[in-house]
Symmetry: C2
Subunit: 216 residues, 2 copies
DNA sequence: ACCTGAACACCGTTCAAGT
DNA sequence: ACCTGAACACCGTTCAAGT
């Protein structure tokens, strides 16, 4: 008998940051949010045990952010080659959004805190350099990247939004909107609608940026 | 002596939804979030008293949403006249974002819940109709409006983000990004940077939409 | 170093009791 | 109808005690 329930310091650690991250992510995916005690329950551990590995709730949020950042595809930014900058930006945006799309409920949790992962920093670094080379002044390029990122985050939030985005109350008369909504997939195909909006916006943004290129 | 502290049902009501909404908004503006007990304290009332006027925390969030919605300017959508649709969309987007800009911390709180105010519904209604008249098929117009809204929400979130968006750790080598960040106002003028990004994105989106107009 | 169990302050919500 | 006060379940965090 190992009396596992009573042991104060087990021979092999029960916890580590990765197990905590995975449990947290699973709970977020299921319930839309997480709780420190819920993580502990999922790992058959006391709540206070988590504090030996992670700096409380804020620390768990950092873990979740790392998870998302790791899911992004940065390789494409390495071989920028001769591909046009529009294409690189589009890939960047899609991979960014897809990393969130895999875990939509994570977006609202991360939305308010700072990006500080070195990987992300250097990704931005490359994008800015690329835009500079394409002929955009630095001031503009930063505004462009920020605008693109804002669009991506907003689009990711859209994925986490409740199923019916626009509840039409009987009171309001909205025949045109109703028609537009009818002409659109519902429930399970909601993601498709979100995808279409994302691609429409991305295409428009890139077209607009291209038009604003000074050297034209 | 009125023994106010003991009275169970005061002659004049101490609370109403508007006072609750105002208190909540003030707390959100100050602290970045609100708490039901905090509202009660601000109004010199017992926490449980609030539940006679509002459906708990979720109800308070609805009140906050109404506050924001009321702050938007819909008049411009009434007299669509002969103004080009791009101009109308731009006004719409700016007024939408400005309503959030007045209370940035409100954005993360509202970001996940559904829009159902009739005023908002009918505003979308008019925009969709206008785009249809301009020559866009309904399917496209809905994607466009959604994309624009996502961009606006993302830009509004940007306003609520912590002051230093991109912390550059010493480890990461990011000279170009650093230069771009240097060329930009800091601290108090952060709003200006956000504004620039917003205007850049808005202009690009509208230019891109215009380019995609089928009847060209 | 790593886990437990007890403890604390705090939040969201309910409900009987009063006027 | 409207406010109070007590009560409950739950969360985030700390810390001494054990191995």
């Amino acid at each position: 008998m190992t009396e596992a329930a009573e042991m104060a310091r087990p021979r092999v650690a029960l916890l580590d940051r990765e197990r905590i991250a995975n449990a947290a992510l699973a709970i977020v995916d299921e319930t839309g949010d997480f709780t420190v005690p819920a993580i502990a329950r999922a790992l058959n551990v006391q709540t206070s045990s988590l504090y030996h590995h992670v700096d409380g709730r804020a620390g768990v949020i950092e873990l979740l952010r790392e998870k998302v950042v790791d899911a992004m595809d940065y390789d494409q930014l390495h071989r920028i080659d001769q591909r046009p900058w529009q294409e690189v930006l589009a890939c960047f945006a899609r991979s960014y959004r897809e990393a969130f799309a895999a875990h939509p409920h994570i977006v609202p949790i991360l939305a308010t805190t700072t990006v500080r992962a070195p990987l992300v920093i250097s990704a931005y670094e490359r994008v800015i350099a690329m835009l500079h080379e394409a002929g955009f002044p630095e001031r503009d390029s930063l505004a462009m990247v920020t605008a693109l990122e804002n669009f991506i985050i907003g689009s990711a939030l859209d994925l986490a939004a409740p199923p019916v985005m626009w509840e039409i109350p009987e009171a309001a008369e909205a025949p045109e909107l109703a028609k537009a909504l009818e002409a659109v997939p519902r429930d399970a195909e909601r993601a498709e609608r979100a995808d279409r909006a994302f691609e429409a916006g991305l295409a428009a943004l890139l077209a607009g940026f291209t038009e604003s290129l000074p050297s034209r």
